[in-house]
Amino acid sequence: MEKEIIYSRNVNENPCNMCMAMGGIIPFKGIEESMVIIHGSQGCSTYMRRHIAEHFNEPIDVGSSSLNEKGTIYGGGDNLKKAIDNIIKVYNPAIIGVLTTCLAETIGEDIDGIASEYLKEKELNNLPIITVSTPGYGNTHAEGYWAAVKRIVTNLAIKKEKGSKVNIIIPQLSPADIREIKRLLQLMEVQYTLLPDFSDTLDRPFERSYKKITKDGTKIKDIVEMPDAVATIQMGVTIEENYSPGKYLEDEFGVPLYNTPIPIGLENTDVFLSLLSQLTGKEVPEALKQERGRLLDCMIDSHKYNAQGTSAIFGEPELVFAATKMCCENGIKPAVVATGSKTAKLAELVKPLCGDASLLDEADFVSIRSISTEMKVNVAIGNSDGKYLTEKEGIPLVRFGFPIHDRIGGQRLLSVGYIGTTMFLDRVTNTLLENKYNNYRKEMYQKFYWEPKKKTLAVPGS
């Protein structure tokens, strides 16, 4: 039975989400020769750069229109134009994203108008400037991400002739996850356009000469041609239709949309591969069947340890759903399933899997913490902010998602496909085991050997 949790909405204590503009930056980092500008106070871009840089360990350049008091009162058009000017001078990008902030939205900036005016003034005909409305009070970074992907698609996509590619639209995964998805696509011999592809841009190999922006990422030409695809596979079962780029391609150009879960967990990976099989008519190759077999073997190896797991899962809805599914497949009982986003969809999807878990949307860490202790959660799965649960309640955290800034290698965490799931599951199981080895001697001693001092020994009245 679902628990009704009522907690205060006047205060958010220790947030479980970030703002829309933050999420909106990431897709632009996955397009070739792209730059992004935040139209708002300088602090927004500074804090977001810091947050993203710490997770990926990559330089994150984000422009800012540095709106000041004057711009706030009289309009920030000049500030934004100047910022675009600077960005072109320094980076010479092939595409520019402009994201709004709380401030720009509240003063009612017409960013579309400013952008087209700029392009006209400078006689720039071939530079797409893609504006995205990302007010911080609108929703969370998860929705900001989707809003940006959708705007990129709606701005660039043009129908030409029927092609043979499959569109793959992904949520915010790790660069390692994206590389793994590309490997699966290659093994399945699928021609595809993957958007956004920040597998190289946000996890760059060390090179002799450092380049500020590169040709890596999704090609603009490929995005333009997305309406020609035979189908869209969008890893977005939790997203609302108004944020859905796949829905747009379907409605506008008739590209059939398949919303699938992120291929994390055995079943979710099966779903992804069989869909590819169905779309291309190609068999799942032997090599992938072997990987599946190995995952099954891993699940058998660890099932008894996993049976002792009670988990709290938190983060972006799409990731939370996938991780919840993996927990359920392995007998790890989800007790708290939480997201900072305002969404009814996640609860709908999760309820059939684990109906007695507490399902929280618009959650903060104070609420996650109190239910986690009540439900005796012994493993938390989510981003670094969950370290709060470890520090306060001793609940160990398996780091997963974004941001990871108190450990190295968030960009290298692999969790998708059969291989990724195997690694992810091992991380969870081993965390349960570590906890067990650390505590079982003491626990058993206290439970079965140690006796509290008899009352008769106490001196009455002392």
Binding site: E13, R50, L103
Partner: protein
Amino acid sequence: MHGPIGCASYTWDIRGSLSSGSELYRNSFSTDLKERDIIFGGEKKLAKAIDELVEKYNAKLVFVYSTCVVGVIGDDLEAVCKTAAQKHGIEVLPVQSSGFIGNKSMGYRAACDTLLRLIDPGEKKIIKENKFINYLGDFNLAGEAWIIKKYLQRIGIDVNVAFTGDSSYQKLKTAPEASLNIIQCAGSMYYLAGKMQELYNIPYMQISFLGLEDTANSLRKIAAFFEDEEIMNQAEKLIKEEVFSTKPKIDFYREKLKGKRAAVYVGGGFKAISLIKQFREIGIEVVMIGTQTGRKEEYEIINNLVEDGTVVLDDANPSELEQFMIEKGAHLLVGGVKERPLAYKLGLAFIDHNHERKHPLSGFVGAVNFAQEVYSAVCSPVWDYVHGKEGS
């Protein structure tokens, strides 16, 4: 934090500031304004938020930070704070820190203005305490304020309160009673020191506890202020003891680091000045230096201090940093977290001289930590593989 969620998210528990008591400050409280609140105003929500938090945590003092939207929609923070203060019988003070008002310096100033309101004794008569100082601009990162307090204690001077590392509401209230203000982080606290001189007649001096030379000189300067033979003798004794035990360690690293070149990009000008001297102590020349909030006078000192050909920057962007670091052949960069990956991509070592450090860099012990950190970063075997065995 009165505003939408992001402002609170990005600032939640990201500093390495330590406390000897309550750790309430390590939580993030936000009114989490939504679209509805932007349209209808957020005052009621703020009032309720304060009520809830005061009740839950039994707080004696609440600071309410204004954010961009709050500045635009015109929520009357003053009024809400005043009502809440009366209702709960505590102090509730607004910080007018809307992002569009200005840069980081303006934010410091907004916070200092609020602190001035907090420490205002009103009608109460100020009784000056002898040899009692306030320590401005130390946030007790990795216990740095504790280190300096102990030094001063050893020479016979009591630190009344630090602004605001490991400080408390009650202690801050006694700040006007001090006989001297010393300032470490000038970027944040220079303004407050000036105001406290004006209002409470407390003289101030800028000191720096970064590096052996500046730490020793600062202790001498503070001791000299009190014109007390005993204190001056104790200061010399302390310096002698500490230098005796730390100098050999520094010299060890100096040998290893001689001839290396550093690029520096930090917040305040005074810190930049100290770093030039501190690098010199360990045999390193600063070839590029920039600050975010450095003042004109500080830039003059910087220009006099550095060698000819050193690049001096004001509020640089990543692209300028990159260009000059390469041009000047720097081996390492000192900077904020955002700059770390850039240094690494360029194949340079990086020194975390920022708010997130988890080891102290102040005082004699900090000088050794600093030298050790620079050594372990610059002389890591990793660079042999990055640049080839011959070095760059």
